[in-house]
Subunit: 212 residues, 2 copies
Amino acid sequence: MRGRTDVLEPAILGLLAESPMHGYELRKRLNLVLGSFRALSYGSLYPCLKGLADRGWIVGVDAPGDRTVASKRARIVYQLTAEGKEHLQQVLSSSGPAAWEDENFDVRFAFFAQTDAETRMRILEGRRIRLTERLETFRQSFARTRERMDEYTLELQRHGLEQVEREVRWLDDLIDNERGTRRARPEGGGRPAAAADDAEGTTEARNEKERG
Amino acid sequence: MRGRTDVLEPAILGLLAESPMHGYELRKRLNLVLGSFRALSYGSLYPCLKGLADRGWIVGVDAPGDRTVASKRARIVYQLTAEGKEHLQQVLSSSGPAAWEDENFDVRFAFFAQTDAETRMRILEGRRIRLTERLETFRQSFARTRERMDEYTLELQRHGLEQVEREVRWLDDLIDNERGTRRARPEGGGRPAAAADDAEGTTEARNEKERG
DNA sequence: GTTAGCATGTAAGGAGTTACATGATTTT
DNA sequence: AAAATCATGTAACTCCTTACATGCTAAC
């Protein structure tokens, strides 16, 4: 009974399925996929790659002549084996409770493009139920203890609650989109739909500062 | 050089400073304070209490006659010692970079009522800078890789970015409130101010379903 | 009389981190 | 020549989890 399901392995396999990469590049991509942009350490990455290679899911081939722009050292480029692809598909088609837990959901969602529509839907709905359950229990203990709480604790709770509520609305929009119901919700929030038709306005990823 | 700063110990000390409690009750309170309402396990709690007692910061006194409503077993009620109070004050008055990291910020914020105004401000501003730095680096890699990303990955990034942006606005409101500038921001978002003047409307913690 | 909640613990282990170690290449 | 970035790895450690173990009390 695996405790934590290991979020790193699926993430690596999923990224390598898109294109072969060496460890250093993999880490950068991983930081974007792994949720809340944490900086993954090499102390986790390389042993993990080794383990995946030991189990025959990936192979690392030495890439000597591939001088793109910068740096030429050993540069071991990893890619999926046939078994690795098979294993990944198996992982991506699973839609058990683990898939919509906090630690795993982001990674599963990141590879939705490689996931079939039914599994996608089951994961999104599972996650939604998970979050609404959490809201329920949370609201109960909130109601029970709010008298005893000072204003800061109260504000922390309120903010946490609001974030989960927002997450649920995000999932609602995603589920709507999956269903093909592309109608923009007329009343309510600012954005018409969540799914990636256009990312402008919120992110403003335009200005390239070139610092650091 | 402590790696993770241990979020449990300050949380326990902070709660015990408000009122003495036994382990089981402590856990429930802890789940609300610890951020993202994770369920802390007893396997973490009790050894931690033991460690705090060993260092003389808390003492556990056996409470036999305290039959409130339910259950009467040993029930070891823990409370802070003089050294414990001193240590807690020292921890709460620190405002180093560790205080505004992801793992620690929630706990520090939860005990702002026991923290002096200057420290509060430094932590809030430190956190704000931390998040805007993150936004910056994030936007850069987002701009670099957005062409290669499928719609799901893109949506995940967009959503993550939006969450951090919202967190920054929340901090802005809190900082405004700390400054005493109680003016409600006229344009923009729905709520006038973030800090806990009133929690109605968003949470609706009113309906007590009594299920489970 | 057995399920559910209260209450306290221990042992083993997992997933990831920091700190360290090394070296090539590019930019300033 | 120095600093930054690219690139790969190991050893020790930490925080926390799961699984197990125990027993009391309340409710159905």
